[in-house]
Symmetry: D2
Subunit: 356 residues, 4 copies
């Protein structure tokens, strides 16, 4: 269940209808979950900014690096050209090359791309090596293509699915989480959606309640000897017509949402944010007869409500990943427990939150 | 009073003895407060990394730009060379040139600097133009020099003092705030101290309690029509022997502390962090006979506790600025109220916080 | 005389009619030259992107930092917001604060700006302290305002004028230089204009001819004991409708032009490039009823001809500064000789260049 | 033959004994060249900062992005942590994922790395798709491992070898090129070595002589309809004990060397520089009992001679790639001619260069 189904709200803005990144028109998400002997506890999550041929119809995009201890593929070209030309794939650290290769395959499946000789695959990761035999590199190109093919625009599955299958957050089982926000009609009524792959540490807070401290499980406490390292991938989508320049500013705000969950962006955490606009009016065609493109663009002062939306949706997406994830046992018998939701709800009540 | 004197704690790490940036050995702070007819509601705050001739004994330093809608002087040279050669001055937006000029004067007062022909003055600012007749540019060079001369290593005065005299945060009177943290002895026992000049908006939270929401005063609510813009200057000091590279990473974490107070780094907010190490072992002499300098340096994996310290101290410094500030009336009869501490404490209790 | 008047060409693109930054429609340049007893050998150069109220009609702009050992004021706001709201002032290192203060004065002279309480003055500098008594800070606010008021759209005066009055380049007298390029009509026919304030070192080359080496005067040679430090400010203007994002890319190319003159961007050189578009179609009004602005924008692949234009014009602007500058004696009797043009022309001939 | 063997010198500093990146102590280079039916015209070049286990003994490193239209793997972690933990692999654009995967394999071949679960493979590329059937992705992991295994510290093979097999520069056949410089003993006597994979365009100059213009073959001329796009990878090695911070500054200077060959860093060019220090005194052990590392470090003002060395060696490495490359026919019968060396030498003479 989502956090909200326990009567707990984060922030002041309304969520979209599904409270999911897929509330942003055009966005699709697919997962491929790999839970097998070996033990394999990993997977792939694909985010498609729109369902068409992305190489031919690129979307404005930007990357913000919260802490660069990670292996994100494709970041420099996004930053230079300001656009995204493949789906975004999330997976485990050591499967980034396989996923990147699969994105090239995927791009070549489109007839229109028959003469394409350069592709910028975008792949993010977190390290699930505590539960998963990550050195086995068990994600195949076919797994990646399946994640893409299975993408749809419905509510995103959360918790131990796809790239979140084997992740750990604040010492509990993490995974995929998603949330969305709609800014007031008077400010444009745009939607901002976020998807996170959570695998990091710090001192867990849920809507400000010091859950980690109450449970005695936090970085530098006696009971959390595990490192806070591990990484967080955050994808921010919006239907607001934004330039790469303002998308970069928007991406930066997602880290403020991570901060509100108690994340500290530790030395070993690869915290990256990729933001894109799915608005049709700002698509960038690969070829154009015109050397000039006319583009609508939100003025700078219109960004603040979108910033707030990205912060709130990120905080809630991370919380949702915890509320959906389930206890998992993996490599070398390691077990990571789910967040003890019942106990957490008691704590929430002590701190004046949740349903009566 | 500091937040802690109300029985409210932020974070899990211990504070330094004074809970002030001056807990970091060598650091001194001075204020010059200007409250006069006109109306003038502004001032100057000076932060000295060490009491000596900074030009001759530079300190490693870095700048992180949370949101660059501001006029910070000196940032590019700090980033290029990785060091700081003047005190840091904070003041109002339109007095940055005057303060920069005064720092050149100050540098020239040292006999050892008689042949110096290049100085990189570092001046940060926030905009106090709602209460202060900022267009009058009433800060003089002498005011700046007075702030420097009055600097000492005692507990920092907070609230409506110095550069915080006329600032506004979350719709309430803001100002100067400070806090510090000590990391566990096993991790080095270093101190991180923070000083903030608070003048920004969002949705106020105090140690996670939704104070802004309860008071009905927050960005995009009906009752806070004032913009969330305005800026936050954050100074992070530490006695850990850090290189410029890791100081930049440390500076970045301060924004996560700002996030936890409900700040959204709005479009119009100039949010800058300057971090420096006051450790004597990493001082950078202006002249040296050796072309190679031997420097102790914390290894990357030793940074995480310092990151957490910077986050906690920033959150608490911002809160302290609110708890110390008092109601002020200024330009055109504008009045900004102090945080209603009594009401806030009631809210804190409803949310399970504070003294019994 | 310009280099071209000696029959020497740089690059393959055509120059604009005046071979000056003022070939870019709307751009105006003014100088205030200060040569007096004391000795004072300094000045001010003002570049106006358009003749109107820049605060109300901002222009898209970007900054590239070649080497950040300098005191450029205003860079972070340009980078964050992507625009420029004051004229650009160039002067000496220690007069940056005065010039910044003067730009605030200037902005306040417009009635439309009566309620403006935040201004981002943009001031670049190089250090003329070898010839000029720079510690005297002899540039006044009035000098800055005079430079602005005297700006016109005619051919730019070059050499020992304005901010170039006391500068040194490759061991010879430097100063202000300018040049322009027009890209082919088939690529849009746009103009790129460059103005440089030259004050740096390395191994002088003029259109590839090793002049510095032939004259035995270059960095690390026996005869050039002076440091290569000192800085170069480069202003790039264009009438192409560019976003801040692509202006940043354009700015970066100017450093490639500097490289071709033999500059090495030494440790102590503050090499900054500010690029802006003067195209009316991309002006950014301070206030707008629309939250969305429709903007024409050159597609990424249209940038390469503009890149080449910026490189060529920068190389030639630097050369022009040398050809126009005259021998100067200043502080402590220091004399810096003009480039020995006659001897240089002989060298050029030995290397197959110049008039028959 | 190297350019120097034709009696042509670039710059003023001495070269190392082999005039090769391998003049830097510890550095090894290996190539795997793939020329087969299909047509396959591609390959792999491996650069090893030292011959040991790089993961256990990392080297300080930095990345500079000249123009980010490229697929460099591993850049963000280098920038965040300031170190390199695998050999650097260069190959073609679409084989980056395969090479990255092979670097993980390679890292796992060391027994000491048996518990390693995170590896940051560093792979650069240029696009050889005009001559090579790049869509076929014919580079195998075994090819990459062979390049690594074949690495030695002898003079680097240049021209149509390894990752330079199918590249094009200034419309002529490009490839791998290398050069080195030694700075004066009085400045430390350090060596800087450069290796380039050349595949870009502009207006070719050789030590300042306008060869491209004389041959009528340059960007925006009638006869060079091919795009200037394509990319340049530049690897800069030094035995000077540099921090990541100053290595980043050093990397930036390599682009100035590229500029001097006439490169314009066109929109479609992925121009990246990776710099590292092979000095044993600055190695970064993976594990350490000490949380503090004592490191010798060149002071900032000692960087200028190294900057000049990087510029000169880059310019010469690019020239060498042209002088070594041979005419090649590939995909769809495309033929790219070698630089017409005899004709070029005539031009050089007209411009006062080369042997009598």
């Amino acid at each position: 269940k989502n956090l909200r189904e326990y009567g707990i709200e984060i922030g002041v803005l309304d969520t979209g209808p599904m409270n999911s990144i897929t509330d942003v028109r055009g966005v699709q998400v697919g997962h491929q979950t790999l839970i097998k002997e070996d033990p394999i506890r990993t997977g792939v999550t694909a985010i498609l900014p729109h369902p068409g041929n992305l190489f031919q119809q690129k979307v404005p995009a930007a990357v913000h690096i919260g802490n660069g201890f990670g292996k994100l593929a494709g970041s420099t070209q996004i930053q230079e050209l300001g656009n995204l030309e493949t789906p975004i794939i999330l997976t485990n650290t050591l499967s980034v090359p396989t996923a990147a290769d699969a994105l090239i395959d995927y791009t070549f499946t489109f007839d229109d791309n028959n003469n394409v000789r350069s592709v910028n695959p975008v792949v993010g990761e977190t390290n699930d090596g505590y539960l998963n035999n990550i050195r086995g590199r068990h994600v195949s190109k076919e797994d990646v293509l399946k994640a893409i093919r299975s993408a749809d625009s419905g509510r995103v599955s959360q918790g131990n699915v796809g790239a979140g299958t084997g992740t750990i957050v604040f010492g509990f089982k993490g995974g995929i989480g998603s949330s969305s926000r709609i800014i007031p009609e008077s400010r444009g009524g745009y939607t901002v959606g976020v998807l996170t792959q959570t695998n990091f540490g710090g001192v867990l807070q849920i809507t400000g309640v010091p859950v980690g401290k109450e449970l005695g499980k936090y970085y530098l406490s006696d009971q959390l000897n595990e490192s806070p390292d591990g990484s967080c991938m955050i994808i921010v989508a919006t239907d607001a017509p934004l330039s790469a320049h303002n998308l970069e500013r928007l991406a930066k705000r997602a880290m403020l949402g991570l901060a509100k969950t108690g994340g500290i962006s530790s030395n070993g955490s690869g915290d990256y944010v990729i933001a894109f606009s799915s608005a049709e009016s700002v698509r960038i065609p690969y070829h154009s007869k015109n050397s000039i493109q006319n583009q609508p663009e939100i003025r700078n002062e219109g960004m603040s409500p979108l910033f707030m939306a990205a912060i709130e949706a990120t905080e809630e997406a991370i919380a949702n990943s915890l509320f959906h994830a389930e206890t998992m046992t993996g490599r070398d018998g390691h077990t990571i427990n789910a967040l003890p939701v019942k106990r957490v709800m008691e704590i929430m009540k002590e701190y004046g939150r949740g349903e009566e």
